[in-house]
């Protein structure tokens, strides 16, 4: 596909043109803070493009923290009306790690695989795709923003990604100073960039150089396939007790994680309205797995921290062939106890090998 050029001075016009046909979402500075978060854009000047990464990953636009699954009439125990539709939209300024995580989300939420009997009989159940996620995904075009200066906690190169990776994106913008190189990835992305001037060879080679430079600043590497194999036999290892000691069992790492997708379903009933809603949940909370009987398969912080690590680096790759981590580093920068996932993985590698 043809790479194109978007001069920075033309960005407001480009966005205004997009906004004529659909909603535009992009990072906006959180009130009184350094951080940015994805918001619906009314005026192009609200967009903030000088962030390392958004406070919360782009997953919140596809899997909002609170989502209405259906509404019902209060008091009517069988009433259920499907929730409203979403509009076509463009999301601009998605970091490559966040976009890669949506590919992982697709495996969970758009999975059409059938239930199998314990003997893999032919008879099947399903389909099991989540209609709310799928609709949001289908109606969204993703414009990425490549990272020329990855942060200290970033490690996407270790998780099958990269600062200029196009995984999961429709179009990637690369900052070349006074202009962006626009790299279409899908037909949807190509259509968005159609009106822009073609990039020159020197623009493309400059972008490639920037990608190399960015990559060179990222030094964390780990053999994930090997780690997965060691983890598969490590459930009862004492190392988990040691690793989990500083963890305070809050939900920060799971909520800021672009790949964490666990949720709870609860009902809200008021005088005039009612809704069944899906909310983010965290495997670090004790209620997450507690049975009504009181029995809890994961009753302590150690077992919960172990499950999160194994889910990301052993269980998920076993069934989906990809780790459930894109190396965005948010869990590292936001952990109240200063736990560094990279150190955890290194300790596991060194202890279990």
């Amino acid at each position: 596909m043809t790479a194109r050029l978007l001069p920075k001075k033309d960005l407001p016009g480009f966005i205004a043109a997009l906004a004529k046909k659909q909603e535009v979402w992009a990072p906006v500075r959180i009130q009184s803070q350094e951080a940015a978060r994805f918001s619906r854009i009314d005026r192009p000047e609200d967009i903030c493009l000088d962030y390392l990464n958004t406070k919360l990953p782009v997953k919140e636009l596809f899997f909002p923290q609170r989502e209405v699954m259906f509404t019902f009439n209060p008091g009517e125990r069988s009433s259920a009306q499907a929730s409203a539709q979403v509009r076509e939209r463009v999301v601009l300024g998605v970091r490559p790690c966040d976009a890669a995580a949506l590919e992982l989300f697709d495996k969970v939420f758009v999975d059409e695989s059938k239930t199998a009997s314990p003997l893999a009989e032919s008879k099947t159940a399903g389909p099991l795709a989540d209609p709310y996620y799928k609709e949001r995904r289908d109606k969204t075009t993703l414009i990425g923003l490549a990272c020329n200066a990855p942060g200290q906690a970033c490690f996407c190169t270790a998780t099958d990604g990269g600062p200029h990776s196009t995984r999961g994106l429709d179009l990637l913008l690369i900052d070349l100073g006074d202009r962006f190189l626009a790299r279409p990835v899908t037909a949807k992305g190509e259509a968005l960039a159609k009106g822009l001037a073609r990039a020159k060879d020197k623009d493309i080679s400059l972008a490639d150089e920037l990608a190399e430079e960015a990559r060179a600043t990222m030094d964390f590497a780990i053999e994930l396939k090997q780690l997965q194999k060691s983890l598969d036999k490590a459930f009862d290892h004492e190392v988990w007790h040691r690793l989990s000691l500083p963890c305070v069992n809050c939900g920060v790492c799971t909520y800021v994680c672009p790949a964490c997708h666990c949720f709870d379903v609860t009902d809200e009933e008021y005088k005039d309205s009612g809704a069944r809603i899906r909310t983010w949940d965290s495997c670090q909370f004790s209620l997450f797995t507690r049975h009504a009987s009181g029995h809890n398969p994961r009753p302590d912080g150690m077992s919960r921290m172990r499950n999160r690590t194994l889910h990301k680096f052993c269980y998920f790759p076993k069934t989906q062939d990809k780790v459930l981590c894109v190396g965005c580093g948010r869990c590292i920068t936001e952990c109240p106890a200063g736990i560094d996932l990279r150190e955890t993985l290194e300790t596991l590698r060194d202890t279990l090998s």
Binding site: Q65, Q152, C250, V252, P336, A337
Partner: protein, 271 residues
């Protein structure tokens, strides 16, 4: 010898002699500019311990989880030691299972707070100068606003809450086996980031902090969304100070203001 080196030596000795089974302190994180709580069980690991300006965690928060696991030594700055005082007064830890290593607060954490440990079995390093009592100007500015303006500030700030409970989990005061937000029979607070639920959570939590919060600021530092929870906590602490003349966690002998009745307590709510 630096305070840090003296601390390492002392912890090594404590572990070697078997006086304690565990030292809770600080060690450097993988990336510079941050540290993480360290749980040192062997004398050879004492080298890991650090004491520098990145050491801001209130280590008392780990104590309720370490009950009945042998004698524990805790590296205690001013705020950590104040929380320990409260945990002891609230019977959350057995004093004889605890060895408090007092240190001067090396962090740049709230300058208004006590810098040196207030309760300790031994003190390592030179005592830092305690900050002179000064009027809390931020709080005064907040109080000068109208109630409507104050609500607006709190509403706007708390609307960013994602209900990750980091504030609660890092707080040494939050040791309830089942927090009121997690209770389901009856369910008092919804689980969504809905603003009324979120405000309910923070306001009820602030009430539970009255007379107990030591203003260490751990909750505000832990918040991934940058919510300034200390505005609420300082206001609550100021009310307790004015009404009961009580400053939380300064002495094992002060009665806990909200669980101790005295005839002098203000009772204007009885009309």
């Amino acid at each position: 010898m630096s305070t840090e080196a003296a601390l390492r030596d002392r912890c090594r000795a404590l572990l070697q002699s078997g006086e304690v089974a565990l030292v809770v302190g600080y060690r450097a994180a993988r990336t510079g500019g941050n540290c993480t709580p360290a749980f040192v069980t062997g004398p050879d690991q004492a080298e890991l311990l650090v004491l520098d300006k990145t050491c801001h965690h209130n280590l008392a928060a780990y104590l309720p989880g370490l009950r009945h696991k042998g004698r524990v030594a805790v590296v205690s700055t001013g705020p950590t030691s104040r929380s320990i005082v409260n945990l002891l007064k609230e019977n959350q830890f057995d004093r004889k299972d605890l060895h408090i290593i007092g240190v001067p607060d090396p962090s740049s954490a709230p300058a208004s707070n006590v810098r040196n440990a207030v309760l300790f079995d031994e003190f390592i390093g030179d005592k830092a100068d305690e900050p002179a009592p000064a009027p809390d100007q931020d709080l005064a500015a907040f109080e000068a606003k109208t109630p409507a303006e104050r609500w607006e500030i709190l509403f706007a700030d708390l609307s960013n809450c994602i209900r990750c409970y980091a504030c609660r989990q890092v707080c040494p005061n939050c040791y309830c086996p089942t927090c009121f937000v997690d209770a389901s029979r009856p369910q008092r607070v919804g689980r969504t980031p809905d603003r009324s639920d979120t405000i309910m959570f923070h306001v009820m939590r602030a009430m539970h902090m009255a007379g107990r919060c030591v203003e260490c600021g751990a909750c505000a530092r832990a918040c991934p969304m940058g919510i300034d929870l200390m505005v609420i906590n300082r206001k609550v602490a100021a009310i307790v100070r004015d009404r009961f003349g009580h400053v939380s966690g300064m002495s094992l002998d002060d009665p806990l203001p909200l669980t101790t009745f005295t005839p002098e307590d203000g009772q204007e709510f009885i009309e």
